[in-house]
């Protein structure tokens, strides 16, 4: 039981550090709340969806903004960023969402340089949050494997 307790504490600490650093916000909490017996894998499912979508979007963005292209398709950029913003805010990936907002001001101004910078930032933030979430899930799995319950925050 010691291991479980330790893992649980670790989990709580880790999760609260995510909140503290602003990587995640309340929305993630809401999603966690939605997970119950009838829907035991909800968070994982949603987050996985988010990863898949995000990587596709990042890929599309990278193509749309690739340097050799003379004419940048800002409409496509808009669609991608909008989707990215929507999904990241649904998941509660706050910092990703915030960069999407500033991304938007860049492509509204047709500022290619700014867009590229934002793209880089979004990528960084996305991989950061992905990393963290994956760590979180690993912790969860460990807890479950150790026979403990995932502690609920808030």
């Amino acid at each position: 039981m010691d291991i479980v307790n330790q893992l649980q504490r670790q989990y709580v600490d880790f999760l609260s550090s995510l909140y503290r650093e602003g990587l995640l916000d309340d929305q993630f909490l809401q999603i966690q709340k939605l997970q119950d017996e009838s829907n035991p894998d909800f968070v994982n499912e949603v987050v996985t969806l988010f990863f898949e979508d995000s990587e596709k979007l990042l890929h599309n963005l990278a193509i749309a903004l690739s340097v050799d292209q003379q004419h940048v398709d800002y409409q496509k950029v808009d669609a991608c960023v909008h989707q990215f913003k929507g999904s990241s805010s649904s998941i509660g990936a706050q910092r990703v969402r915030n960069i999407c907002v500033s991304f938007r001001t860049c492509y509204d101004a047709k500022n290619l340089e700014g867009c590229l910078r934002c793209l880089q930032q979004v990528k960084d933030e996305y991989y950061l949050v992905k990393n963290k979430l994956q760590t979180l899930f690993r912790l969860e799995q460990q807890i479950v494997a150790a026979g403990g319950a995932i502690p609920i925050m808030g």
Binding site: Q30, F42, L49, G86, S90, I91
Partner: protein, 993 residues
């Protein structure tokens, strides 16, 4: 700031417009005004001048005429007299010829001639004398001289030199005897005269010269005397031949004219000159002074005919004095000018005044517009500013709330809480200022939605219940039965006014009570009148009640307005009850009255308002005195807002207050009646319906204060409980045994319980319990405003184990307590559900089929997860098109959650298309009278809720515009979901599902 500038600009434009239109109706042209004045003055001068000229000309003409007539008259007279004299000389000539030549010897000698002429001198007043000169040829001179005895002499009285002819005077009048023997032909004038006279045979005149005797100017008249009668047309030679001599007379023209003029009027005024103008280039003066001062401007010349065709004479007349200054003309013209000037100036002054007044008027208008604009601008500014402050304030408050939720040390928590309290106070103030500014800017519009007055009052009560309990004052609400259950109006504003009044009352009341009453306004007014009458009759009730309280009010304390004393109150209620039947009967007629006017009064027993401060109670930011805000806080804007709101609601607010006794604020407000019958489904009230589980239960209320009892009964009545009021516990005990229908509960006021009879009651209670009346035993409930823990213990010990209901009483609260006591489990479950939002949400959504439309997978999943959690079955669509495909009629979804921003077809577009489909289908149903849709109310209408991350109002309006029913802010949370969904779905109890 930009907004403000823009506002100013608009203001300026507005002002310009106004001034532009204003100039148009100025009927006096200010630029032309002085010019017109000058023109007028000039024309006045001109007209005066014309008048003067005309009058002057008239004068001159008249003067001229006078002169002409005078001159002519004088000339004629002179001529007449002259010719008379000439005739006489002629007669003398005839006489000489007749008696000197035709008779032989001559009948005339010097003596005879002198006598005759002297005697006939009156006939010739103009002639100084006459003489006869004989023609003597030189050859006859010697003989002549011998005959007469003297030699012929010249005018110089010397012997005449030898000439061809001589004309020595032989006869002479005595006056001129000095010329006897003088040769008339020796004088140049006379000689010429003589020659002319004998040539023409007529009287001839000399040019004027100084006469010898008088030195007056005169002329000599010469007449020829012929020796025999001449033929009809004698030649010159014949005439010379026949000439015998010459008769001559000297005319003293000067004295002649002098005499003549002396006889005539107006002699002094004119100067008369007589000229001989034979030689026209050199007129010789015969009379008058050539250089005499006279008016040379006007002259009349009259021709004179003295009978000598050779000589021409004329008379010139002039006025002696210059024409007198025409004072009449001058005065008249001047007066005219002055009058004209005055009239002109007065008109000008008037016009100037009008212009000035007009200018002032315009200026005032401008200022007025400006002032109004400034007022509006101020209010707008306030509104904007307040709004702008409110937004960040909400953030601050939210963050503070979050902060307080975190792990804080006690000091930090204290700081945080203080900050939060301050922030809340600030935002309340800002909201109030915003309200007031909105009202002033005319932006506040009242809603007209149906609402339940009683539940509003319950809300207000619950708001202050904590505070009143804490202070130990009794807070109560009474709504008259006549007040309709539902009215149309603005519940928020109504609540705001009451909250403000009650808040004030609670704030300023330290002990006693605060009572809110709602009656129909006209009903209360009529009662007030009758009450006033009864007061005059000395019928006022100063009953000392058993509790030692002197006044029959709710708490027994004196109140400002004794309208609420028991007697009036009783009348009010009794009247209501008696009229109840009437009103039932007349209900159909009553329905016709669309408006219902309520009178709400809030009575307290607080510190009252100082008399001096009473008149500025409704002025914004005015509190009774400065110490008030120190002691009680607040800004003093609330009442002014309340006043505005009440006026907006078509009512009036006023108050009666006595310092240290209390205040009673009352206001009226008009509402529309709700049309219950209009559509079968009654509009849902804002608050949850009261539970109906207690209908028909019987209760006994023990209370010695009638007002309080009435209020308690009112609250219980709302739950459907039949209440019997008794004065004391003893009565209950005596009644309860005998009555077959035993009460379900006994409610006892704390006062009544403490009033000393409790012991026996306690015993009876114990008896009851021991007798095993367990089944039928009524629940015993204590009602208390505040209760100490020892009292509570005592009460429990005394058998009030059941419960203590803390005042203020509210129907819902009472219901909750009763449920607890009565142990109605199922209902309690239901009640809990109502309170627990998520459970309620579950009850709403359970079993519902919901379509979620979003292009983002994650969002779809989350939304679906959230909805599924509450028991809904969810289907998803990726785009607007897919959603349309799924929503083909007849669809089997209960609701649709639609993302707005989607590629290809956005949420608005999709909704619009869905609504179009629905309306087509509805038309078909209505038109074709189809069998299918009727069960569903004949209308397809799928609730569509927007899911959006923006929460700005504009988006919301757009949502409504395209046919959506509401919106849920994304990401989902329970609260907003609940708010959005609650409108559309009937709660379904979870037990059923």
């Amino acid at each position: 700031m930009g907004l403000k500038l823009q506002g100013h600009h608009m203001l300026a434009v507005k002002l310009n417009d106004q001034s532009g239109t204003k100039r148009k109706y100025t009927f006096i042209n200010r630029v032309w005004l002085p010019k017109i004045l000058w023109l007028w003055i000039l024309s006045t001068i001109f007209v005066s001048r014309v008048i003067y000229n005309r009058m002057n000309a008239d004068n001159k003409e008249r003067r001229d005429e006078v002169l002409v007539s005078m001159c002519d008259q004088r000339a004629r007279m002179l001529q007449d007299q002259f010719s008379v004299s000439v005739n006489h000389v002629h007669a003398l000539a005839v006489l000489v010829s007749t008696f000197h030549y035709y008779k032989n010897p001559s009948a005339i000698d010097q003596e005879t001639f002198a006598e005759y002429t002297a005697r006939t001198a009156f006939e010739r007043p103009l002639l100084s004398g006459v003489a006869y000169a004989q023609r003597v040829v030189d050859s006859e001179r010697e003989q002549f001289e011998k005959l007469h005895g003297w030699t012929i002499r010249t005018m110089e009285r010397e012997p005449s030199p030898i000439r061809d002819e001589y004309a020595p005077v032989i006869f002479s009048q005595e006056t001129v005897s000095y010329i006897e023997s003088l040769d008339m032909m020796s004088g140049e004038e006379d000689r010429e005269n003589i020659l002319r006279a004998r040539a023409t045979g007529k009287a001839v005149l000399t040019s004027p010269f100084r006469l010898l005797g008088s030195h007056h100017l005169g002329v000599v008249l010469t007449f020829p005397v012929y020796k025999f009668k001449l033929g009809s047309n004698p030649s010159l030679a014949q005439r010379i031949e026949a000439t015998a001599g010459y008769i001559g007379g000297a005319f003293d023209v000067e004295s002649l004219v002098e005499n003549l003029l002396g006889q005539l009027a107006g002699n002094q005024a004119i100067v008369v000159n007589v000229y001989d103008i034979t030689n026209s280039s050199d007129p010789l003066i015969m009379y008058g002074h050539e250089n005499q001062d006279s008016d040379i401007s006007l002259e009349r010349v009259s021709m004179l005919n003295f009978g000598d065709p050779y000589r021409k004479h004329q008379m010139t007349c002039r006025y002696l004095k210059k024409a007198p200054t025409p004072w009449t003309a001058i005065t008249t013209a001047f007066l005219f000018f002055v009058i004209g000037l005055l009239v002109g100036y007065m008109t000008y002054g008037g016009a100037i005044h009008i212009v000035k007044v007009e200018d002032d008027f315009h200026e005032m208008q401008l200022l007025k517009v400006r002032a109004e604009a400034a007022d509006v601008a101020k209010s707008q500014f306030l509104a904007t500013l307040s709004h702008e402050i409110r937004t960040p304030m909400n953030g601050i408050l939210g963050m503070l709330a979050l902060l307080l939720d975190t792990d804080l040390s006690s000091t930090q928590r204290d700081y945080g809480q203080t900050a939060q309290a301050c922030g809340k106070a600030l935002i309340t103030l800002i909201n109030e200022v915003l309200d007031r500014a909105k009202i002033e800017a005319g932006k506040l519009e009242l809603e007209a939605v149906p609402f339940d007055i009683r539940s509003i009052l319950d809300d207000v009560l619950s708001l202050f219940s904590e505070k009143s309990r804490h202070k130990g004052i009794e807070l109560a609400v009474f709504v008259s039965d006549k007040v309709p259950e539902m009215v149309m109006g603005d519940p928020g504003r109504f609540r705001q006014v009451i909250t403000n009044l009650v808040g004030n009352s609670v704030k300023f009341t330290e002990q006693g009570h605060v009572l809110v009453q709602v009656h129909l306004a006209n009903h209360a007014e009529t009662l007030m009148k009758t009450k006033a009458d009864s007061f005059i009759n000395g019928d006022s009730e100063g009953v000392v009640l058993s509790g030692g309280n002197r006044f029959s009010t709710l708490s027994g304390r004196e109140v400002a307005e004794d309208m609420h004393s028991w007697k009036t109150f009783k009348n009010l209620i009794l009247d209501e009850e008696s009229q109840y039947l009437d009103s039932q009967r007349a209900s159909t007629a009553d329905e016709a009255f669309q408006n219902v006017k309520l009178m709400v009064s809030v009575e307290d027993t607080g510190i009252g308002i100082p008399l001096g401060a009473q008149e500025r109670v409704f002025t914004p930011f005015m509190q009774a005195d400065s110490s008030t805000s120190r002691n009680y806080g607040g800004t003093g804007i609330g009442l002014s807002i309340s006043k505005c709101l009440v006026e907006l609601m078509g009512g009036r607010i006023n108050f009666i207050s006595h310092p240290q006794i209390g205040s009673t604020f009352s206001f009226t407000a008009s509402f529309r009646r709700c049309q219950k019958n209009a559509n079968g489904d009654m509009i849902k009230p804002h608050s949850a319906d009261l539970p109906v589980a207690f209908k028909g239960l019987k209760a006994i209320l023990v209370d010695e204060k009638k007002i309080r009892a009435t209020i308690t009964r009112y609250q219980l009545k709302r739950l459907g409980i039949l209440v019997e009021v008794v004065n004391n516990i003893r009565t209950v005990l005596s009644n309860s045994g005998s009555k077959n229908g035993s009460p379900d509960m006994i409610l006892i006021e704390k006062d009544s319980w403490l009033s000393g009879e409790n012991d026996c009651f306690d015993i009876r209670l114990l008896e009851w319990k021991q007798h095993g009346h367990m089944v039928n035993l009524p629940k015993i409930i204590l009602l208390a405003t505040n209760i100490t823990s020892t009292e509570f213990e005592k009460a429990k010990a005394a058998g009030f184990a059941d419960t203590v209901i803390m005042k203020p009483l509210r129907a819902t609260m009472v219901a909750a307590c009763l449920q607890q006591v009565m142990g109605t489990e199922k209902k309690a479950q239901h009640e809990r559900d109502m309170i627990n939002a998520s459970a309620f949400l579950r009850s709403l959504l359970c079993g519902k089929k919901i379509l979620v439309v979003d292009d983002i997978r994650v969002n779809r999943r989350v939304a679906a997860g959230a909805l599924k959690k509450f028991g809904a079955s969810v289907e998803c669509a990726e785009s607007g098109k897919d959603a349309l495909a799924l929503l083909q009629l007849p669809h089997n979804f209960d609701a649709c959650f639609m993302d707005i921003q989607m590629p290809e077809m956005d949420g608005f577009e999709a909704t619009r298309l869905i609504r179009m489909l629905e309306s087509k289908a509805n038309e078909q149903i209505n038109g074709g009278n189809d069998v299918e849709g009727t069960a569903k109310g004949g209308k397809w209408h799928l609730p569509i809720l927007a899911m959006t991350a923006d929460v700005i109002h504009a988006t919301y309006e757009e949502c409504l515009k395209c046919g959506m029913d509401g919106y849920v802010s994304k990401p989902f949370d329970e609260k907003s979901l609940y708010q959005a969904v609650a409108k559309f779905f009937e709660p379904r109890s979870t037990a059923d599902s």
